[in-house]
């Protein structure tokens, strides 16, 4: 039997959180930073059974891309929408999957990458060879559009094993050289723990290369994250299971365009012992000096929920001390995501939860992760699944879902950051 040590300290913190929720003490949120320029929120209501997502990207022309999955009347559909300018309106949804394809519904949005008019999405398809004894099996598919998301080509299979198992918790990223990289988790080797796998496409998503295993003992339910440095170094992050059920966020790098990867490096040394499924991914990004930023969730040795940032200036060989981003005493932080622009301006979004509250908050760093603005609430109704993206001009787009019963409300908001306080220029 797996044992779990009991943490009094963690529970005392939880007590404080719950008591604070009872007394309705406002979260420690600063007044809106006047130097941040928010555009009005754009919303769409989805009167369907379920919506998972969204994923969001913004390009240097300020065009916003969204992707999500809906289920209605037992029909599941992957959708994409492009908004041509940051003020909206949100573009009409375009169906990504073919009518014959049955997307596998899970609590994850499609992974999305956009370069110009090339749009790439990965999503899970209910495995066509699914058997009653393996009912949760799925294939990882790659869909692409070459006309800005007006139409999508039939999807291609990403995983090259033929096993009837799960292939998911995927991420996608287009490197500056145009190569499309995909990472995901599957258990094709039949080991107790799954592995982290990658592949790439050098022909704009028409085909993908032979799959490559990066590492074993991957926490099966925490999504992967991909990014590239200015020098072309490719990074993939995931949560690794270490002996004793330690769960550590790790990063591996490839300096040869994805041919090979280094051994993973532990980012935060959290020593979080967790015998189950955290289901909380890391988020990675780089600035133009090549600083690699990692944001993640952990409960550490004292089982206290927290979201952290650490960075690396040596291409992921070592990491800075981790800095805690959440400050609220009244809620739990959860599901952090991060975006960074070339100047090292960072935006973070995450959830703050209590039994009765679900807030979306954001924080900004204009000095490459040295100081952070006070978390600022964004949502109006109960919010969840925040995500974001930022272009090279410091225009960030944030998106999340709100409970607007009977509808699921998708909210999109852009945010122009002021100039960086510490420019990411070449240092001596």
């Amino acid at each position: 039997m797996i044992e779990r040590t009991f943490s009094t300290q963690g529970l005392i913190m939880m007590v404080g959180i719950v008591i604070s929720a009872v007394s309705l003490v406002p979260m420690a949120l600063a007044e809106p930073d006047q130097s941040l320029r928010f555009d009005p929120k754009l919303t769409t209501d989805h009167r369907v059974r379920a919506v998972v997502g969204p994923s969001v990207k913004i390009d240097d022309e300020n065009r916003i891309s969204l992707a999500w999955i809906e289920e209605d009347k037992d029909i599941r559909t992957v959708f994409y929408s492009r908004t041509d300018k940051s003020g909206g309106p949100i573009g009409a949804p375009v169906t990504v999957n073919q009518p014959t394809e049955a997307p596998y519904m899970r609590q994850e949005a499609p992974a999305l990458a956009v370069v110009g008019d090339d749009v790439f999405l990965t999503w899970a398809l209910t495995h066509p060879k699914l058997t009653p004894d393996k009912p949760f099996s799925n294939e990882l598919r790659l869909s692409r559009s070459t006309n800005g998301g007006k139409t999508f080509s039939p999807s291609i299979l990403v995983n090259d094993d033929e096993q009837v198992i799960g292939h998911s918790f995927d991420s996608i990223h287009v490197a500056p050289d145009g190569v499309v990289h995909v990472a995901w988790i599957d258990g094709r080797e039949g080991k107790k723990e799954s592995g982290t796998f990658v592949t790439r496409s050098t022909d704009r998503g028409r085909t993908v290369a032979k799959n490559l295993k990066v590492d074993d003992n991957t926490c099966v339910c925490c999504r992967t994250s991909l990014t590239t440095g200015a020098d072309g170094t490719l990074y993939v992050a995931w949560r690794k299971v270490l002996p004793g059920d330690l769960r550590e966020t790790v990063v591996a790098r490839s300096t040869d365009g994805g041919n090979t990867y280094s051994s993973p490096v532990i980012v935060g040394h959290d020593k979080w012992v967790f015998p189950g499924c955290p289901h909380r991914p890391a988020s990675v990004g780089t600035d133009r000096l090549g600083r690699l930023y990692v944001t993640w969730y952990t409960e550490g040795v004292d089982e206290t929920p927290a979201v952290f940032l650490a960075y690396s200036d040596d291409r992921g060989e070592t990491f800075s001390p981790k800095q805690k981003l959440n400050v609220s005493k009244g809620t739990f932080p959860d599901h952090p995501q991060m975006a960074v622009d070339p100047e090292g301006r960072l935006v973070f979004v995450w959830e703050e939860q209590s039994p009765v509250r679900r807030e979306i908050v954001m924080s900004v760093s204009l000095d490459r992760g040295q100081t952070f603005s006070a978390p600022q609430k964004l949502n109006e109704k109960k919010g969840q699944t925040p995500t974001l993206s930022m272009n090279a001009k410091g225009l960030a787009v944030l998106a999340w879902m709100e409970h607007a019963m009977p509808a699921h409300r998708m909210v999109v908001q852009t945010l122009q950051l002021p100039a960086a306080k510490v420019l990411a220029k070449q240092e001596p």
Binding site: V18, A21, G276, C277, F332
Partner: protein, 182 residues
């Protein structure tokens, strides 16, 4: 905040205070043997109302008078699926007129879940928490999480991570709650 919800939250807070204060260190405590955090009497479970796999609705209010085990799980959670047969065996050991087992998932794989349970040869009620409201109101932070509710609706135990639910230790916890009410 509605009075009932405020009461619930206060109760949760009190239960957590008691956990922190007491800790599972009492010799002979069946909760200790199962590595289950004991919650103090008086902390009320959050009321819920969820649809089942076959479309029926389960209301927690209708379970008053029974000890209820609520297991939160997901289809992608290996440890969750591994412990399910033992949950079913525990269910078989206990008097259904005094004990109810519920599993709650935020997943949306209704057909797959039906196949999965059929393949396992187990019969467990699956409730769908599509908006994650119930999971979050019970402060479920990871999976599997299992909560035991006493006959009077008070929270009595919480286990995070898998357990051997068909073990003598698990049965002892349930019988203890069924007989003592706490």
């Amino acid at each position: 905040m509605p009075a009932s919800m405020k009461h619930t939250v206060i109760a949760m807070a009190l239960s957590l205070v008691s956990i922190a204060a007491a800790g599972p260190t009492l010799a002979g405590d069946p909760f200790v043997s199962l590595k289950m955090s004991r919650l103090p009497a008086g902390s009320m479970a959050v009321p819920f109302e969820l649809a089942t796999l076959d479309g029926k609705v389960v209301k927690s209010s209708e379970l008053a008078g029974k000890v209820v085990l609520v297991n939160f799980w997901a289809t992608w959670c290996g440890p969750c699926k591994e412990e399910m047969p033992s949950l079913a065996r525990l269910q078989q050991q206990l008097d259904p007129s005094r004990f109810t087992m519920l599993t709650v998932t935020t997943d949306l794989q209704r057909q797959g879940i039906a196949h999965f349970l059929s393949q396992l040869g187990v019969s467990l009620p699956v409730l769908f928490d599509e908006d994650q409201e119930v999971s979050r109101s019970f402060m479920v932070r990871g999976l599997p999480t299992t909560i035991v509710i006493a006959r009077d609706g008070t929270l009595v135990g919480r286990a995070v991570g898998p357990r051997a639910w068909d073990s003598p230790e698990a049965a002892a916890v349930m019988r203890h709650v069924m007989e003592s009410g706490k």
